[in-house]
Symmetry: C2
C-alpha cells in the first residue's frame, strides 16, 4: 500500500505564510518587523565589504604548493588561515589530531599477457599551468586506505563496479573470483568499487577515468580545454565511509594524540583488496587486450576500442606498498562570541586540505568562507555583535575521509549536542547555479536568501536562475511540481563533504551550499586542479566566490541573530511524506519486478530471446515480495502533519507578536531539538555511527543519499523483516518529532 | 480531442475467432476443414524439399563478383536466375528497362585548412575475405543520384542532418549557408541528409559512418569481427525517394527503351548539392579540425576526439563528376499459372542487384526466394497446381532506388490493379528473429504462419521467439499490450525495399518478411558484404534462409489456394484506430509543446539558464496550435468498426459453410479491393506518386514510415489547415473501406 498524500498536507503546503520572494517589507523568517530592518541594513553592509580580488589572491597563495594533510604547506596554510582569522578579530585556535594517513611507497601496474605493458602512473606537466611542473611535493595518484597488496590475475571489466554491474556479469557467466577488476570512475562513490569487488571475490581493483565521463568526450582536454588529459588520474579516498568516516583507527572518538587506537588490522574501513586509480592512457592498453563478450552498450566508454568484459587474456600484476604513518591534521577553529545567546552556536566550515594544489577543491569554497568571515569580523569591529556565537572552521584532512571535521565533531560531541544550532558547509565552488542541499527544516531560510542574492551574470536572483535550470531539465511531472511550489527543494545530503559528522552523526541541522554547473572540467583530484585552471575555467572573476559568501553569510547572519530560530518544520513534514511515498512505492516496484522476473523465467522469455551463440545464464528466481505494513509510518506522518498545521496556525494567530523571553528561549530550544530528534543512538542497522534516520549516505552508493535509509536499504537488500522493523523505527522517530512540534505549537499559542 | 477507443472496438478485438496458435485442427484462414487438410499436407511436402545447401551454393555463385545494375555480372546473375526458374517449370522472361544510373568519374575530398588532408575513399582488401581483393569490377563508394559538383567551404558537423539537428545548430547561432556539412549515417534514411542540407543552404554534403553506429563501438571490426572497419564506407542512393522512387527520368511510367524521358535537369529526385559517403578513417581528420561549440552530447560519436560543430576552421573541397549513362535493368519474372482463378495473381519478389558483392543485401533473401520457388515448382511437377497464378520476381536496380520493381509495376500498373491479390517481399535475411511488416489486413495470416514455423535455434515457433524478444524490449505499457494480444502486430511499411511501388503506388496489400537481429554487423553497402562475411556472421548454416522460405512460401501457398482470400479486416480496423489516436495525440502534444515553449520565452527560462559565455539564440516563438476537428475520422472509424463487427458476425454465423461460387468470387473481389480502396489517385499532398493514404515513407524520414501520412505530416509541418483537410481525406478513405466491408458482410450473410 502506498502512503497517501493526505489532503491535509496539501492544504498545509498551500497555506504556508511565505514571504513574497525578494520583498524587503516582509521580515525574514525568525525576525520581527523591527529587527528585520536592522538585519537588512547589516546584510547590505556585509555585501558592500566583499571583494573578489581578495578571493583571487588567497587562492593563489593557498594553492601555490601541494597541501594535503601531513604536508608542510598544509600546515603553513592552516597557520596562514588562523592568522587571518585572528586579524579579523576571531578567537582562533588550531586543533590538532593524529590520524592514519597512508601514502604510497610502491605503485606498480603491469600487464603480463597477452603483451607486456607497464603503466606510467604519472601526470606530466602541461604548458600554461605553472604549478603542474612542481613535481617534488606532489602526492602521486593513489587511493587512500587501500591496503598493501601484491596480486596477479586475469582482468575483468566491471563498468562502474556497483552491485548491479556484477548481476550483468553473472548473466554472461562471468565471475571475478581471483581476478583483478578494472572499473571506471562514476556511477557511485569510488570507495564502493573496491568494497563490492572484494565482496565478489576479486583480488585487486583498478579504477580509471574514462574519457566518456570527464575527458575528451565531454570537451577539449587540458590545457586546451578544461577536461582530463590522457595521463590525468583521479586520487581519492576508498575508505568505507558509509560505515564511518574519519580516522579509521578511532571510530566515534576524537583522534587526539593519546586517543585509544584500533590496531590497523581491526580498522574496518580499510579496503580488503589493493586498489589504485589510473589514467585512461594507462587503462587503454589493458582494456584493449580484453577478450570475452562485448560489454553492454551502457558500459562502453569513449576509448577507440571495442569494450570487452574479459576475463583475460589480459593478465595484470598490481603491487602496492604504503607508508602507514600517522599525520597531524590542523583544524583552524575561529570563534566570535554571541552577545545574547552565546551558548547557541552557529557553525560554518570548509576544508583547507587539497589532494595536490586543490585550487577548485577546496580552495574555491574556502576563500569564499574566508571573505565571508572577514566581512563578518569587520561588521563586529564596527559595534555589531552576533546574538549567537559563530564558529568558523577550516578543516584539514577532508580528502582522505572527512577526518578533520569528524575528529573535531567527535571530540566535541557533547558540547555540540548542547550548543549547536546548525552547521553550514561549503566545498568546491564555481561559475553557475546555486546548489542547495541540507536539512529540510532550513529549506525556507535558504529559499528566502536565494531569492535575494543576485546572480553575477544574469542579475536575477540566484534562486530564479536555479529555477530556470531545473525547469529545463524537468520531466513534465517535475515541471508541474516546480511551478506549483514557490520554493526550490533542497536536495537531501548523502556524504562527500564535512557536513556528515554534524548532520548524520550528531543530528545537527546542516546545509551544503555552492555554485557550479558552468565550471565543468576534468581536473578533479589531479595535479591540474590548479590556480591556472581555475582562473580560466572555474570562476575567472571570482564573482561566484563572492556570491557564495553572500548566500552563506546571510544564512550565518540570520541564524546568528533571529529572535526565533529560522527553522520551518513544514518544509520537512512535506518532504518526509514524499520519502514515505517513495519507500512504499519502492516496495511495490520490487514486488512487481520480482513477479515480472519470475514470469519471464516461467515463460522462458529470457532463454528464447537469448542468442544461442553467446553464453547467457538465467537470473535467479526472486522470492515474492510480501506486502509490508506501512501504517505506523503513515500514522506518524499524519500526526506530524497535524502538529505542523497547529504550529503554523499558532504562529499565524500571533501575527508577529513576540513571545516573552522565557517562552522564546524555550521555543528556540524546541526548534533546535527538532533535527537531533531524528537520530537514534543505536544508529542505522550495521553502522551505528550513522545516527540520523532520515538522511544517510548509501551503503552501496557512498556519496549518494538514501533517505529513510533504514527502510530503503532493507528493501534494497530484500530483507523484508528488517524493512518492517525499520518502518517502526522511522515511525517512532517521526512520532517523537511530532511530539516536539506539538509542544512548540502550545508554546506559540501561549500568551507569553 | 482524442479519438476515443470505443468499447465496441475493444469488444470486437476480444471476439475475434482466432485459430489457437499452432493447432493443426483449425483450418487456416480462408480454408474449409476439407481443403485445410490438403493444404497442410502440401506444406509438409514443401518444407521437406527445402535444402540449406542449395542456398549456400547459390549465394557463393551470385556474390562471386560485383553485380550492381548495369554490370556484366548483374546481367549474368539475371540470366542464371531465369534459367533456374525455367528449369523449375516456370514461364520465365527477363524484362528490360533503361534507367538512369550515374557512376563516378571523379571523387575528390580534401581539406585545405587548417591542415592539408586528402581522403582515401578506398576500401582495402582484408585477409580472410576472398572477394575483397577483386578490385577491378567494384563500384567505388558513392551516393547514387548526387549531382555533379565542385564546391569549397567551411565544414559544419550536423549530426544526423535531420531538421531538428538544424534547430539545435540555430540555437547556437550556427547556419550552414555556403558551407559543406558533414553528417553521420543513421537517424534517418541517407537521402534525407543532402535534401535537408540543401534546403538549409549548404553547398555540399559528406556522410560518414561513425564507429558509434556500426563500427568498433558496437563490436570488433572486420575481419576480426563483423563490424565496419576504419576505411569502410556505405554506398547508397540519395535520390529523393519520398517524392517518387524508380528511374528519376520516368516518374509514373515504365522506363522502357522508348519511354518519354525527362531531361536530367528536370528530374526532381536528383540531389541539389553534391554528396559523398566516406569512412570514419577519412572523416576523423576533418572532424578533429573543427572548432566552435562542443556538439550536444547525443551528437557525439565514438571517435577519440572532442566533437565540435564548426563552422571551420576546417575548409573542405569536394569535387564529384559522374557518368550520367543509362543502364539496362534486368527483371526476372517467373510465372506459374493458376488452375482455378488464373486472373488472380500472387506476387513474390526480392531484388538481385547488389552494390558490390551483396551477399547479405540482397542475396541472402534472394536465395531463400529461389529455394521457395524451386520447392513450389517441384510440388507443381507432381500434379499440384496453385489455384491462383503465382508470379516470382527477381528485381534489378533496387539499390539505386527500387528501379527494377518500380519500373515493372509502373509498366504493368493496369494489369496489376486488375489482377494482383498481394505482393510478398523479402530482402536481406540473417540469423535471429522474424521481422514482419505490411498491410494489417494480412496480420492474421502472417501470425497463423509464424506460429507454425519452427525457429531453427530454439525449436519454438518463430512467433514465440519474436514475442520473447519484444517482451524484453517493451515498456511496461507495451508489455501489457503484448500480453493482451495473441497476435504480434505487423510494423507498418515505410520504404527501403521493393514493396513500395506495389503497396504505396498501386494499393496492393503487401508484406515484407525477413529474419535478423543476431547477424548484426557493419558490412552494409560495402565491399565487405561478402560470402565470407555472411558465412561467418550472417547465417552460417543458412537455416534462417530455409526458415524464410518456409514462412514466405506458406504465405504464397495460402494466398494461392485459399477459397476465401485470407484477408482479415479486423486487424486493420484496430490498427488504423491506433493511428487515429496517435495523430490526435500528436496534435495535443504539439499544442502543449508550443504553449510550454512560449511560456519559457515569456519567463526567460532559456536565457536565464543559458551559459552567458556560450553563444545561444532563443528558439522562435510558436504559433498556438488550434484544436482540430477530428470527428470525421472518428465517425469513419466508428462506421468501419460496425462494419467489421457485422462481417465477423456474418462469418461466424456461417460456421464454415462455404459460399456459392458466384458469391465466393464476389467476396474475393471485395476482399481484394480493400487495400486499393485506401489509395487516392491524387496521392499525398505534393507527392502524387504516393497514393496510399495510410502508409507512406516520411518526407523527412525516408525509409521511416508515416501512418495516416496526410494528417501526420501536415501536423509535423505545422500546417493546421492542411491537417484539417487531410482529416477529411482520410475519413473519406475509411468511409469507402467501411462501405466495402458492409458489402462483404451482406455477402457473407447471404444464403449462397
Amino acid at each position: 500500500m502506498r502512503l497517501a498524500r493526505s489532503l491535509a498536507a496539501a492544504a498545509l503546503a498551500a497555506a504556508l505564510p511565505l514571504s513574497p520572494l525578494g520583498a524587503d517589507q516582509v521580515p525574514p523568517l525568525g525576525f520581527t518587523p523591527e529587527s528585520a530592518k536592522a538585519q537588512r541594513e547589516l546584510e547590505a553592509r556585509f555585501d558592500a565589504s566583499l571583494d573578489a580580488a581578495r578571493l583571487r589572491e588567497w587562492m593563489r597563495r593557498l594553492s601555490a604548493r601541494p597541501h594535503p594533510v601531513g604536508s608542510p604547506y598544509g600546515k603553513q596554510n592552516a597557520e596562514f588561515i588562523a592568522a587571518e582569522f585572528r586579524s579579523w578579530g576571531y578567537d582562533t585556535s588550531i586543533e590538532e589530531f593524529e590520524v592514519l594517513f597512508p601514502t604510497p611507497r610502491v605503485r606498480l601496474v603491469e600487464m603480463l599477457a597477452p603483451t607486456s605493458f607497464k603503466a606510467k602512473l604519472a601526470e606530466p606537466p602541461v604548458p600554461g599551468d605553472a604549478t603542474s611542473g612542481l613535481v617534488a611535493e606532489q602526492l602521486p595518484s593513489y587511493n587512500a586506505y587501500s591496503i598493501d597488496g601484491d596480486v596477479t590475475g586475469e582482468l575483468v571489466y566491471v563498468n562502474y563496479g556497483v552491485p548491479k554491474d556484477y548481476e550483468e556479469l553473472a548473466r554472461r557467466g562471468i565471475d571475478v573470483k581471483g581476478k583483478i577488476v578494472i572499473a571506471r570512475y562514476g556511477g557511485s562513490w569510488r570507495g564502493i568499487k573496491p568494497k563490492v569487488a572484494a565482496e565478489q571475490g576479486a583480488v585487486g581493483c583498478l579504477i580509471y577515468s574514462d574519457p566518456r565521463d570527464d575527458g575528451y568526450f565531454e570537451g577539449d582536454v587540458y590545457p586546451k580545454g578544461a577536461w582530463r588529459p590522457e595521463q590525468g588520474a583521479q586520487r581519492g579516498s576508498v575508505a568505507d565511509m558509509p560505515l564511518y568516516p574519519g580516522d579509521p583507527l578511532t571510530p566515534g572518538v576524537g583522534a587526539t594524540r593519546d586517543a585509544k587506537r584500533l590496531p590497523r588490522e581491526d580498522a574496518k574501513t580499510l579496503t580488503r583488496i589493493p586498489v589504485l586509480p589510473i589514467s585512461y592512457g594507462d587503462a587503454q592498453p589493458l582494456l584493449k587486450a580484453l577478450a570475452g563478450p562485448v560489454a553492454p552498450e551502457s558500459w562502453r566508454g569513449a576509448l577507440p576500442i571495442t569494450y570487452h568484459l574479459g576475463p583475460g587474456p589480459a593478465k595484470v600484476h598490481l603491487k602496492l606498498v604504503f607508508d602507514w604513518k600517522l599525520a597531524t591534521a590542523y583544524d583552524v577553529i575561529a570563534r566570535l562570541e554571541g552577545s545574547q545567546w552565546p551558548d547557541e552556536w552557529v557553525l560554518r566550515g570548509n576544508h583547507h586540505d587539497g589532494w595536490v594544489f586543490g585550487a577548485h577543491d577546496p580552495v574555491s569554497g574556502l576563500v569564499a568562507l574566508m571573505e565571508e568571515a572577514r566581512a563578518v569580523g569587520e561588521l563586529a569591529r564596527t559595534g555589531w555583535r552576533p546574538k549567537r556565537t559563530l564558529i568558523y572552521a577550516a578543516w584539514d584532512a577532508e580528502e582522505p575521509g572527512l577526518l578533520g571535521s569528524t575528529e573535531w565533531a567527535e571530540s566535541h560531541a557533547q558540547e555540540l549536542r548542547d550548543h549547536a544550532v546548525a552547521y553550514v558547509n561549503s566545498d568546491s565552488n564555481g561559475r553557475g547555479f546555486l546548489g542547495m542541499g541540507g536539512s529540510h527544516t532550513l529549506e525556507r531560510l535558504v529559499n528566502e536568501i536565494a531569492a535575494e542574492v543576485p546572480d553575477p551574470q544574469t542579475k536575477v536572483s540566484v534562486a530564479e536562475r536555479e529555477r530556470a535550470r531545473r525547469l529545463l531539465r524537468a520531466t513534465p511531472e517535475e515541471r508541474k511540481e516546480l511551478r506549483g511550489n514557490p520554493r526550490l527543494r533542497l536536495y537531501a545530503l548523502g556524504s562527500g563533504s564535512d557536513y556528515t559528522p554534524f548532520l548524520q552523526h550528531l543530528g545537527i541541522a546542516s546545509l551544503n551550499l555552492g555554485f557550479g554547473g558552468e565550471n565543468e572540467g576534468g581536473e578533479y583530484h589531479s595535479i591540474y586542479d590548479s590556480f591556472d585552471h581555475y582562473a580560466r575555467f572555474g570562476d575567472p572573476d571570482f564573482a561566484y566566490g563572492v556570491a557564495l559568501a553572500k548566500v552563506a553569510g546571510r544564512v550565518v547572519l540570520r541564524l546568528a541573530s533571529a529572535e526565533v530560530l529560522p527553522f520551518d518544520v513544514a518544509g520537512f513534514t512535506d518532504t518526509v511524506a514524499r520519502y514515505g511515498r517513495e519507500v512504499a512505492k519502492l516496495a511495490d516496484d520490487l514486488r512487481e519486478e520480482a513477479a515480472e522476473e519470475n514470469r519471464r523465467l516461467d515463460e522462458k522469455t529470457y532463454s528464447l530471446a537469448a542468442d544461442p551463440r553467446e553464453r547467457s545464464v538465467l537470473p535467479p528466481r526472486r522470492a515474492p515480495v510480501p506486502f509490508l505494513d506501512f501504517s505506523p509510518l503513515q500514522n506518524a506522518q499524519s500526526r506530524l502533519e497535524s502538529a505542523t498545521r497547529a504550529y503554523q496556525e499558532a504562529v499565524a494567530k500571533r501575527g508577529g507578536k513576540p513571545l516573552g523571553p522565557a517562552s522564546a528561549r524555550a521555543l528556540n530550544r524546541l526548534l533546535r531539538s527538532l533535527e537531533p530528534s531524528l537520530t537514534r543512538q543505536h544508529g542505522l542497522p550495521s553502522r551505528p555511527w550513522f545516527q540520523h534516520q532520515v538522511y544517510a549516505p548509501g551503503f552501496y552508493t557512498g556519496y549518494g543519499v538514501k533517505t529513510l535509509p533504514g527502510i530503503r536499504e532493507a528493501l534494497e537488500q530484500r530483507d523484508w523483516k528488517a524493512a518492517g522493523t525499520q518502518v517502526q523505527v522511522a515511525a517512532g522517530v517521526l512520532e517523537g518529532l511530532a511530539g516536539l512540534v506539538e509542544q512548540a505549537a502550545a508554546l506559540a499559542s501561549g500568551g507569553e
